[in-house]
Symmetry: C2
Amino acid sequence: MSKLMIVGTVAYDAIETPFGKTDKILGGSAPYIGLAASQFDIDSAIVSIVGDDMNREYLNMLATKNIDVSSIEIVKGGKTFFWSGKYHNDLNSRDTLDTQLNTLADFNPIVPENYKDSEVVMLGNLHPNIQLSVINQMNKRPKLIVLDTMNFWMNHTWDELMNVISKVDVITINDEEARQMTEEYSLVKAAQKIHQLGPDYVVIKKGEHGALLFNNGNVFFAPALPLEEVFDPTGAGDTFAGGFAGYLTKTDDFSFENMKNAIIHGSNLASFCVEKFGTKRMQNLKKTEIFARLQQFKELTQFEIELS
Amino acid sequence: MSKLMIVGTVAYDAIETPFGKTDKILGGSAPYIGLAASQFDIDSAIVSIVGDDMNREYLNMLATKNIDVSSIEIVKGGKTFFWSGKYHNDLNSRDTLDTQLNTLADFNPIVPENYKDSEVVMLGNLHPNIQLSVINQMNKRPKLIVLDTMNFWMNHTWDELMNVISKVDVITINDEEARQMTEEYSLVKAAQKIHQLGPDYVVIKKGEHGALLFNNGNVFFAPALPLEEVFDPTGAGDTFAGGFAGYLTKTDDFSFENMKNAIIHGSNLASFCVEKFGTKRMQNLKKTEIFARLQQFKELTQFEIELS
């Protein structure tokens, strides 16, 4: 069975949306990535760090999804990375109310021996040097390395970011960040410039407006499923990335054609993620629900047109 | 041959974009609608009004595309409706610099006898009473009435707008306007409410983010083609609507399945419109170019996923 190695944050989030608010719940990129990828019945492991205030039930929940959590370091007496945010009424923007790095400040990822030969590596949004360290610990070049990042690292660790980007196959980045990174408004031109930084595949996430996959001359687009209600957008991007990486790990086919399917699977899973607070919906997601919604994706986008 | 009856403005536009500026050129909704629809080799007529400052070469150009321009009233001594606007750097927003209604202020549309039995009527963005007047002049119920509108009429002529909307089959409206009309942020919910106002089909235009077609429970989405350069967005929405209405007129099939194709054709034509100032690109568009780009639309959106 192919293996997926995930590095990312495991956090406590306190979230407020127009529909309600949560106390500290499980958050961070890695749980969303892991839960999405676990839908494909693969072997996966999370490398991360938490304090011993982390509720073990959360880690057990991940373990029941066949996610190896033994490399989530638990720091005695330490506190878990904490993020608190409040979404605006349109759910398209949010204010960060509080960020406490806590144990994350000293995160030094250790890839477990049995995952050093993983076929796929998913580098969640983290300091680029941490992402680089994971790549360097692999004992053979993975078939696919996927990197997620954000504007914070562009603003503060540009050189380190450029270094790690040069070593990956796929970058996932949102539209505003792609524009910031390249100083190009056109996403086609932005993707061209990002290709030149290293990645053969550039995935530009546009939130409720879907996602674009660029592979040099080729382009593919997946919409977000139009939803009646978006309850909590937290984790949608990570769920998308986890579905993308998980599907590719499972199928072991890294062609552009198969990446289209991976983009659709990622978008599909993200459409569930936003229906409840935090990881709740992803914890209780049935295969029948997933396939029913994939059918909706087909109906949403597929057409039969005469090309003559 | 099926007939398409178009009512809309014929105007002079002065446009400034980050790439240049124009003196007065042909603008208004009707030329864009007509030029897009003319790609489908149908009979069409424009009902509109201009001053005698309108350059006859523009009208002749439309006539050479098999668009009947004999019902574009030319007011002696009158001046043509004038709009001037400047686009911001991202081309997603613009400032109106000047609007002079001129002859448009007294527009009283007269549908020509031989178009009173048109299969399809396209009501370009105008005062809702003018749109209504056109419907009332038809001597049989058209198979399809498509209406375009904008926030100005919501703000100033709400009751009249609701009246005409109740009589049409399809409304095209942009996302912000759909939200304003219904006070619903979710476009799914907004479309549901608009259905209740009358139209069985609701097309929500999202500009560079594509377009959604709702038909009660059914949804279809067409992306905008990702372009390296958008030169001038003026007329893209009207070109989209013209392509949509023109394709449906040609095929005489008003099913949801065929409307998907119409949406794709409209999006495809709009992707050309924005490549040059005003109507220039649409005046010189070859069938081979259109079909090549339809192929790009297929590649952009079509996927083969196993649903099991």
